[in-house]
C-alpha cells in the first residue's frame, strides 16, 4: 500500500509518518497511585495542628531569621572559596613529583576527611585551651599577629577554619580527579608549543578539568550551605542558630524548624539553578548538542505521555 502511494507520487519526498501511537496504561496507573499518596501526605501536613502554620507565617520574615540567613549565605561563600583554593593547592601538591610535598598533602586530606566535621568545629572553638596565645608569622622568623587565642579565634574564624579546612580536603580529591581526567595528549601538545608547566595547568588542564570538577563542587556548595548549621556548636549566629534562639524562648520548636527549612530549601534551589548555568558554560567545546534543557525534558515527557514514544 505504502509503495503504491510512493510510486503514484513518483518523485519527491514520501509523507511524514503519522502512526497511531502505542498506549501505555501502566504509566497512567502508576502516576495516579503516586499522586494519591502525595495528596494524602500533603493533606496531613497542612491540616495537622502540630505544624502551627500560623506561627511559621509569623516568623518566616522575622528580622532575626533573615539576619541568620544572611550570615549563612556569607559563611557558605567564604568557606567554599577557602575550600576551593585549598583544594586546588592540595590537589596540585598531591600530584607533585616531590614526595615530601605530595606526602604533606596526603596527610592533610587523610586527617580532615577522616574526622567528623562537628568534632573539628568544636575542636577549633576550644583551641584556646590548647594554645592560650597565638602567633602568626614566618616560622622561626618575625611575627605579624600575636595575641590571646580567645581574641583571635572568634566564632567567624572558627567557622572559616572548621568548614574551610574540611572542605579543602574534599575539594582536593575532586580537583585531582578532574586533573587526572584530562587526556595526556593535551599536555604533550601544550608542551610542544612551548608552554611552561604552570601555563599548561592554568590554560589547558584546569579549564578542561572544570567540566569534571564543577558538578561535584555544586554538590559540595549545597552541602556547605547545610553544614553551616553545625556552627550552632560554635555559637555562630547563622540561620539555624537564629531559629534555635527563638524557640529556646517561646518553645515553638517545630514551626521554627520549618521556617529554617523553608529558607534552606530556597537557598539550595537557587544554587541548583546557578550550577546548571555554570555547567553549561564549562561544557563548551565538548558536545555539539549541549542544550538538553529542563524544558526539553518536560516537553519530552509530555510527548511520551501523549504519543507513547
Amino acid at each position: 500500500m505504502a509503495t503504491s502511494e510512493l510510486t503514484k507520487r513518483g518523485t519527491g519526498r514520501p509523507d511524514e509518518i503519522k502512526a497511531v501511537p502505542v498506549r501505555h496504561p501502566g504509566r497512567w496507573i502508576a502516576a495516579v497511585i503516586v499522586l494519591w499518596f502525595a495528596a494524602a501526605a500533603i493533606r496531613s501536613i497542612v491540616t495537622s495542628k502540630g505544624f502551627e502554620w500560623n506561627i511559621v507565617g509569623q516568623y518566616l520574615f522575622d528580622h532575626r531569621i533573615l539576619h541568620g540567613m544572611l550570615a549563612t549565605i556569607y559563611l557558605t561563600v567564604l568557606c567554599q572559596v577557602i575550600g576551593v583554593v585549598l583544594g586546588v593547592i592540595a590537589a596540585v601538591m598531591r600530584l607533585s613529583p616531590n614526595p615530601i610535598v605530595s606526602g604533606v598533602s596526603w596527610l592533610y586530606i587523610w586527617f580532615f576527611r577522616g574526622t567528623p566535621l562537628l568534632v573539628q568545629i568544636v575542636f577549633w572553638y576550644n583551641i584556646a585551651s590548647l594554645f592560650p596565645t597565638i602567633t602568626l608569622g614566618v616560622p622561626f622568623g618575625p611575627a605579624f599577629v600575636h595575641g590571646s587565642a580567645n581574641t583571635i579565634i572568634t566564632p567567624l574564624v572558627t567557622a572559616a577554619l572548621g568548614l574551610g579546612l574540611n572542605e579543602g580536603a574534599y575539594m582536593s580529591e575532586i580537583v585531582r580527579a578532574g586533573i587526572i581526567s584530562v587526556d595526556e595528549g593535551q599536555t604533550h601538545a601544550a608542551q610542544s608549543i612551548g608552554l611552561s608547566r604552570l601555563q599548561i595547568m592554568r590554560r589547558i588542564v584546569l579549564p578542561q578539568a572544570m567540566r569534571v570538577i564543577i558538578p561535584p563542587t555544586g554538590n559540595e556548595t549545597i552541602s556547605m550551605l547545610k553544614n553551616t548549621s553545625l556552627l550552632v556548636a560554635a555559637s555562630y549566629g547563622e540561620l539555624f542558630f537564629s531559629a534555635q534562639s527563638i524557640y529556646d524562648v517561646n518553645y515553638r520548636v517545630i514551626p521554627l524548624l520549618i521556617v529554617a527549612s523553608i529558607w534552606y530549601l530556597v537557598m539550595t534551589s537557587v544554587l541548583y539553578v546557578g550550577q546548571y548555568f555554570i555547567e553549561r558554560r564549562f561544557g563548551r567545546g565538548f558536545t555539539r548538542a549541549e542544550r538538553a534543557t529542563m524544558r526539553a525534558r518536560w516537553i519530552g515527557f509530555a510527548n511520551r505521555g501523549a504519543a507513547g514514544v
Binding site: 601538545a189 608549543i193 590554560r203 589547558i204 567545546g285
Partner: protein, 253 residues
C-alpha cells in the same frame, strides 16, 4: 652548514625495554625525511626525543647545531633548566596522531595560544597571523569553530596551523594521517606537501608510501629500535636491500 637534526648513537630505554638501540641520522635544512616501520619500532619515540619530550639515555642529539636538553661544559653534561628546554621546544613544531587540539578553544584560539603566551605577540597580531595560517590550510571559514564540530582532517589541519604559528624551524609529524578516515587523508597530505614546497624541514612518521615517494628527500626504514635502511625514496621503496624492509613494504602495499 650544520645539519638541522643530527643524531649520534641514540639509545632510549623505558625501564628494561630498550626502544632505541643506537640511531644515527642526519636531516639537512629544507629536507623532508619520512620514517617508516612497524609499530613499536621506535619511530615515534625518536620524534619525541628530538623536542626533548623524552630524555635519551645515551648518545648525542643536536638540533640546529645545539645539543638537545643539555649543555656540554668541560666534558660534562649539564641538564638545561625548564625555561631553556621550553625555549628550544617552542622552535620545533609537532603534529600528533590524535590531533590533540585544545577542545575548550576555537580553531583560532588554538592557533594563537602559543604566539600570545610564549612568543608574547600582541593579541591582534597573533589573530591576524592565525587567520592567515588557517587560510593557508584551507580553513578560513572555520576560524571560530570548536574542534568538536570539525572533521578529523580539519582538526589535523588546525593542528598543523597551530604548530606553524610558532614559526618553527623544524616540523615533526607523528603519524598525522593514521587516525583519519581515508577520504580525509588527502587534504592533510596536501597541506604537508605545500609546507614541504615552502622549504620547511620536516620529519614525518607515516605509513603513506605514496606521500613518501613523492615528497620525501630521504626515507628511513626502522625496525626494533635500529635504522635498517635509509636513502632516496626510489631506492628504499623501489629497490630495498634488506629482507625486513621488503617484508614490511609487501605488507603495507
Amino acid at each position: 652548514m650544520t645539519a638541522m637534526v643530527k643524531a649520534e648513537g641514540i639509545h632510549k630505554r623505558f625501564g628494561r625495554l630498550e626502544v632505541l638501540k643506537g640511531i644515527d641520522l642526519e636531516v639537512q635544512r629544507g629536507e623532508v625525511m619520512c620514517m617508516l616501520g612497524p609499530s613499536g619500532s621506535g619511530k615515534s619515540t625518536f620524534l619525541r626525543c628530538i623536542n626533548h619530550l623524552e630524555k635519551i639515555n645515551a648518545g648525542r642529539l643536536y638540533v640546529d647545531g645545539e645539543l638537545v636538553g643539555y649543555r656540554e661544559k668541560d666534558g660534562k653534561l649539564h641538564e638545561l633548566r625548564e625555561r631553556e628546554v621550553i625555549d628550544k621546544r617552542a622552535q620545533i613544531g609537532m603534529v600528533f596522531q590524535h590531533f590533540n587540539l585544545f577542545p575548550h578553544m576555537t580553531a583560532l584560539e588554538n592557533v594563537t595560544l602559543g604566539p600570545v603566551r610564549v612568543l608574547k605577540l600582541s593579541r591582534e597580531e597573533a589573530r591576524k597571523r592565525g587567520r592567515e595560517l588557517l587560510a593557508r590550510v584551507g580553513l578560513d571559514d572555520k576560524v571560530d569553530t570548536y574542534p568538536v564540530a570539525l572533521s578529523g582532517g580539519q582538526q589535523q589541519r588546525v593542528a598543523i596551523a597551530r604548530a606553524l604559528a610558532m614559526a618553527p624551524k623544524l616540523m615533526l609529524f607523528d603519524e598525522p594521517t593514521s587516525a583519519l578516515d581515508p577520504e580525509l587523508v588527502g587534504d592533510v597530505l596536501d597541506a604537508m606537501r605545500q609546507l614541504a614546497r615552502d622549504g620547511m624541514t620536516m620529519i614525518v612518521v607515516t605509513h603513506e608510501l605514496g606521500f613518501a615517494r613523492e615528497v620525501a628527500d630521504t626515507v628511513v626504514f626502522m625496525d626494533e629500535g635500529v635504522v635498517v635502511e635509509a636513502g632516496r625514496p626510489e631506492a628504499v621503496l623501489g629497490n630495498p636491500q634488506h629482507e625486513r624492509t621488503r617484508t614490511f613494504l609487501s605488507k603495507v602495499l
